[in-house]
């Protein structure tokens, strides 16, 4: 019944997206800032250091923070303009209740009344249908303190197993593969190891647009002789000048990795001492790749055989190397297998745990790493602990002051939670910083499920497309209005500093959640007065776990420009590079560098399986989706920042000229892309930089322009990541669509 009360355009008129631009003190060079605060960008997993300039409790600009070692002042356009998300006309300054007589479909509600209403509805639904009838959707842009509190809130306050987060759409395939192969889920190396690699292998990562600062690391490696290999269905900006471009057919990554390992074995480009001393399972994997001859690999991957051989010739005998991958190989119904295939190539080379020898996924979200370690993932407890493990449950239950048996068991992934809404098992939801109406696949289903809920409360700072479905909206905080730690793609724990106070009735998210707990009469364990107190408890809860934060303090983080976890004691400096010989870990206890009882890494068979939906006569093309440099994820923030929208105002369909010719499409014409889920009409961008059998659409937009209207809700059976990167589609020339609901200037 959480149906939006009024039309989309009425809501847009009141709540945006409107575009913010530099005006007033932000444009006047005569204004002297009150202060400059060193903190980090709010957007991607690289977490670039930045100094924000403040005047009268408003962020008016930025200054590059040259000393922060990861980015040394460098920023992408999102980082440059991130300050324009503050003092925004769309900012939620008070609580709202859905009301069709209110402006834009909502009427203001005094904060305490809103909290009472939320608690009342949670209580009612849980009394009528049991505690599991209420679920929580959380976000990976939250600080680790908040992410930790959300997990505790769901399990201790709401006593529901149903909590999951939007990191499910990000790096969970890599996380699952890393745990299977290494016993730990973290980038194995700091990015500085890219600089001394002889070969840099990049699979399924549009580094220039999605992790722009990493570009300089790659180029710098090449200045010193590294060869750069890029695997992607599109000729990305990095691929343009890389040493070898492998234009892979979407969804065939495991086949390529198997083919490379096949050639490594054939030419004995193997580190036998490493394989024998530090791994198990090589023989089985070797048998499995025997069938992946170069000819077969070429046939399946769509890459020329000579290019595959060339890649193996460079990768195989290299002295040092760094393999990076991202959503391009992870957003698949076989995403975990793809990542395991990449890891097998790394393990066979023995090039890990040393300077210049590395492996990492490029985590996408601001706190993609830290947000997946401390308990907002459906099967996980703080410290990277396992909710199904009795010892792990006992440790965390003790810290939380509850009986282990009182903790609910593992829940389900966020998409499955919507299926539980359909089944009537989940009847109420609380969400924070998650915009599934834009970001989940087959989003017509998601909208229907939101409409079906008995009660939905959204905590956010803008009225996202998802919050439009809410019964109550609570005004949360921007990143710059709170403090806490996050963990970057490197595994570096850094400190977000509070730059300004929350405006109006807006509150820091952790305070809102505690207010709900108090109104429910379940405030025990939810009386923190500052983020540092949450961190203190998190340190205890993570102690002895794989993701051990017990030695991490704000002071140490600021003094060292970050602390790489694990950091198991106050005098421990942190662990920038994992798996170094002789390094200790709580699982192996000195038996070896990897996080298993025997200290050995695992080769895990990574068989190739075709995508869930293969092309056919009806839907003869492959659709793949991704990002552009000027927008971030569901666009809830970047679609409100004028200069970023100027750079990329709308989505488009990339089409190869050969395909365009068969459809009579010219550059700039409108075309309709249609899958079994839906159809959208956008302008075609006719470019030779994409495979002719594939079309690409960026996914940052809602409604009639939403790529996720088309995508398939197939998920990896292990990681539950959706298959955003490949499904079957057809394309036809179209007349211009009706204009979308105005995004007022």
């Amino acid at each position: 019944m959480a149906r939006p009360a009024v039309s989309e355009s009425e809501t847009t008129e009141v709540f945006g997206p409107h575009l913010s631009r530099s005006t007033g003190p932000r444009l006047d060079p005569g204004v002297v800032p009150d202060k400059a605060v060193k903190t980090h960008c709010c957007f991607c997993g690289q977490q670039c250091g930045i100094e924000l300039l403040v005047k009268d409790n408003q962020v008016i600009g930025f200054e590059p923070w040259l000393e922060f070692p990861f980015n040394q002042g460098k920023l992408c356009p999102k980082g440059v303009k991130r300050y324009l998300q503050g003092a925004h006309p769309d900012r939620l300054l008070q609580a709202y209740a859905r009301d069709e007589t209110g402006r834009g479909g909502f009427r203001p509600l005094p904060y305490e009344q809103a909290i009472s209403r939320v608690a009342g509805e949670i209580d009612r639904i849980q009394k009528e249908h049991g505690p599991q009838a209420f679920g929580v959707l959380s976000g990976a842009s939250l600080t680790t303190e908040k992410a930790y509190l959300m997990g505790k809130f769901a399990r201790v306050c709401l006593k529901t197993p149903y909590i999951d987060y939007n990191g499910r759409l990000c790096m969970v395939s890599a996380a699952a593969a890393n745990k299977k192969a290494f016993g730990i889920d973290r980038a194995a190396n700091p990015w500085s190891d890219i600089l001394t690699a002889d070969v840099v292998w990049i699979s399924g990562a549009n580094v220039a647009e999605c992790a722009p600062i990493t570009t300089d690391y790659v180029w710098q490696a090449r200045e010193h002789g590294a060869r750069v290999i890029v695997v992607d269905p599109r000729l990305t900006p990095l691929a343009r000048t890389c040493d070898l471009f492998l234009p892979i057919k979407p969804g065939r990554d495991a086949a390529l990795f198997a083919g490379i390992l096949h050639l490594m074995i054939e030419h004995d480009w193997l580190d036998h001492a490493f394989i024998e001393g530090h791994t198990t399972g090589f023989e089985e994997v070797a048998r499995a790749v025997a069938e992946w001859t170069p000819a077969r690999t070429a046939q399946v991957t769509g890459i020329a055989e000579r290019a595959i051989r060339q890649a193996a010739e460079w990768w195989g005998p290299a002295k040092t190397s760094f393999l990076l991958h991202a959503r391009g190989i992870e957003h698949h119904s076989h995403g975990v297998q793809n990542c395991l295939g990449a890891i097998n190539m790394v393990l066979a080379s023995g090039r890990i745990g040393r300077e210049g020898c590395g492996y990492a996924t490029i985590t996408g979200q601001a706190n993609g790493q830290g947000g997946r370690e401390h308990g907002q993932k459906c099967d996980q407890l703080p410290g990277g602990r396992d909710l199904a493990n009795p010892e792990h449950r006992a440790h965390v239950a003790k810290v939380w002051g509850v009986a282990p048996d009182d903790l609910p068991g593992p829940g389900v992934d966020c998409y499955e939670m919507f299926r539980k809404v359909e089944a009537g098992e989940i009847r109420g939801l609380l969400s924070v910083c998650f915009n599934p109406v834009v970001s989940l696949p087959d989003n017509a289903f998601v909208r229907r499920m939101l409409e079906k809920l008995e009660f939905y409360v959204a905590i956010d700072f803008f009225l996202s497309e998802t919050a439009r479905f809410a019964d109550v909206v609570l005004p949360g905080s921007l990143q710059e209005e709170d403090e806490g730690i996050v963990t970057s793609a490197e595994g570096r724990v850094i400190k977000i500093n509070k730059v300004i106070d929350c405006p109006g009735e807006a509150r820091q998210d952790w305070r809102i959640v505690q207010d709900v707990a108090r109104a429910l009469g379940r405030e025990r364990g939810f009386t923190f007065t500052e983020p540092a107190a949450i961190l203190a408890e998190l340190r205890e809860a993570s102690k002895g776990g794989v993701a051990d934060y017990s030695g991490i303090t704000y002071e140490k983080v600021e003094r060292q420009y970050g602390v790489f976890w694990p950091c198991p004691s106050d005098d421990h400096p942190g662990t920038p590079r994992l798996f170094e010989p002789g390094s200790s870990n709580p699982v192996a206890q000195g038996k070896g560098p990897f996080y298993f009882p025997d200290g050995k890494a695992r080769f895990v068979p990574a068989p190739y399986t075709p995508p869930t939906e293969v092309v056919d006569a009806e839907y003869p093309l492959i659709l793949t989706t991704g990002r552009v440099v000027s927008h971030f994820l569901s666009g809830a923030q970047t679609r409100r920042i004028g200069p970023l929208v100027d750079h990329c105002p709308e989505p488009f369909i990339e089409v190869h000229p050969k395909l365009a010719a068969t459809l009579g499409l010219a550059d700039g014409d409108f075309a309709t892309a249609e899958t079994r889920r839906g159809a959208i009409t956008l302008r075609a961008s006719v470019v030779k930089t994409i495979r002719p059998d594939t079309i690409f659409i960026p996914y940052h937009w809602p409604g009639e322009r939403s790529a996720n209207t088309l995508t398939i809700a197939a998920q990896d059976p292990i990681s539950k990541i959706p298959e955003y990167k490949v499904c079957a589609v057809r394309l036809r020339k179209a007349s211009p669509p009706a204009p979308p609901p105005a995004e007022a200037p």
Binding site: S22, L27, D28, P29, P64, L66, E67, G73, K74, L75, C76, P77, G79, V80, K81, A208, E209, P212, I213, T215, D216, W219, Q220, R222, E223, H224, L235, P237, L238, A239, R240, T241, C242, F245, P247, K249, V300, T301, G302, I303, A304, A307, P610, V614, V615, V629, S630, P643, H647, H656, K658, D667, S685, V686, V687, K688, T689, I690, R691, P692
Partner: protein, 213 residues
């Protein structure tokens, strides 16, 4: 952290990823807040993602200043060619038409020529220009020659350009591949060159097009 007086501006177009950070950051510079003085264009997007950033090259003998009838454009002792002085500029467009690099732009709303002044407010107090500070690929680099030699062993520094019969030397340097046998950059002939980089043509992308496995 202040940068040394001997720091210079270097451009390596081979590194550019077209991300737009330079252009966005340029609008944050105090001397021309809200206006970008950088141009960033695709060479031919239909064929390649190659992009080229263009900043003012700060010519040793600036054509823009030479053709200015109002003496509005000054070259400073340190070689920086300033944007037009508001008090002098008559918005005649001479500089816009004459600059061989196509850098100055007429701001008709302000009746003023505007162009990159190498972030004079920043560089004069030991800061890097905004664009080179933020550039994620460091296609735009601000540093000393010693730093550049260490960071870019595969490149050498060139600052001579030829436009037909006109030869220009500039304060801003280009980085070209060390092996490239050129002593100057012939800009007019480069105008007709296709994008540079990996072949994104059909032979690569069509190589493996086949039936679904």
């Amino acid at each position: 952290m202040s940068v040394p007086q001997s720091a210079e501006f270097f451009i390596d177009p081979g590194r550019c990823i077209g991300c737009n950070a330079c252009l966005q950051a340029c609008t944050e510079c105090d001397t021309h807040k809200g206006h970008a003085m950088i141009q960033l264009d695709y060479v031919d997007r239909g064929r390649s993602p190659q992009t080229v950033p263009v900043v003012c090259m700060h010519c040793d003998s600036p054509t823009c200043a030479e053709v200015c009838p109002a003496d509005a454009i000054k070259r400073m002792g340190d070689g920086v060619v300033q944007t037009a002085r508001k008090s002098h500029c008559i918005a005649c467009n001479n500089c816009v038409l004459a600059c061989p690099f196509g850098v100055p732009k007429m701001n008709t709303g302000m009746n003023l020529m505007m162009k990159c002044d190498m972030c004079y407010d920043r560089t004069s107090v030991g800061k890097k220009p905004m664009c080179a500070s933020v550039c994620p690929s460091q296609a735009l680099l601000f540093g000393t020659r010693e730093e550049v030699v260490g960071l870019r062993p595969g490149s050498r520094i060139l600052n001579t350009f030829r436009f037909g019969s006109q030869t220009i030397t500039t304060k801003v340097n280009m980085l070209v591949p060390k092996r490239a046998a050129v002593e100057h950059l012939d800009v007019l002939s480069a105008l007709h060159e296709p994008p540079v980089g990996n072949d994104a043509g059909e032979d690569v992308l069509l190589a493996g097009l086949g039936p679904e496995d």
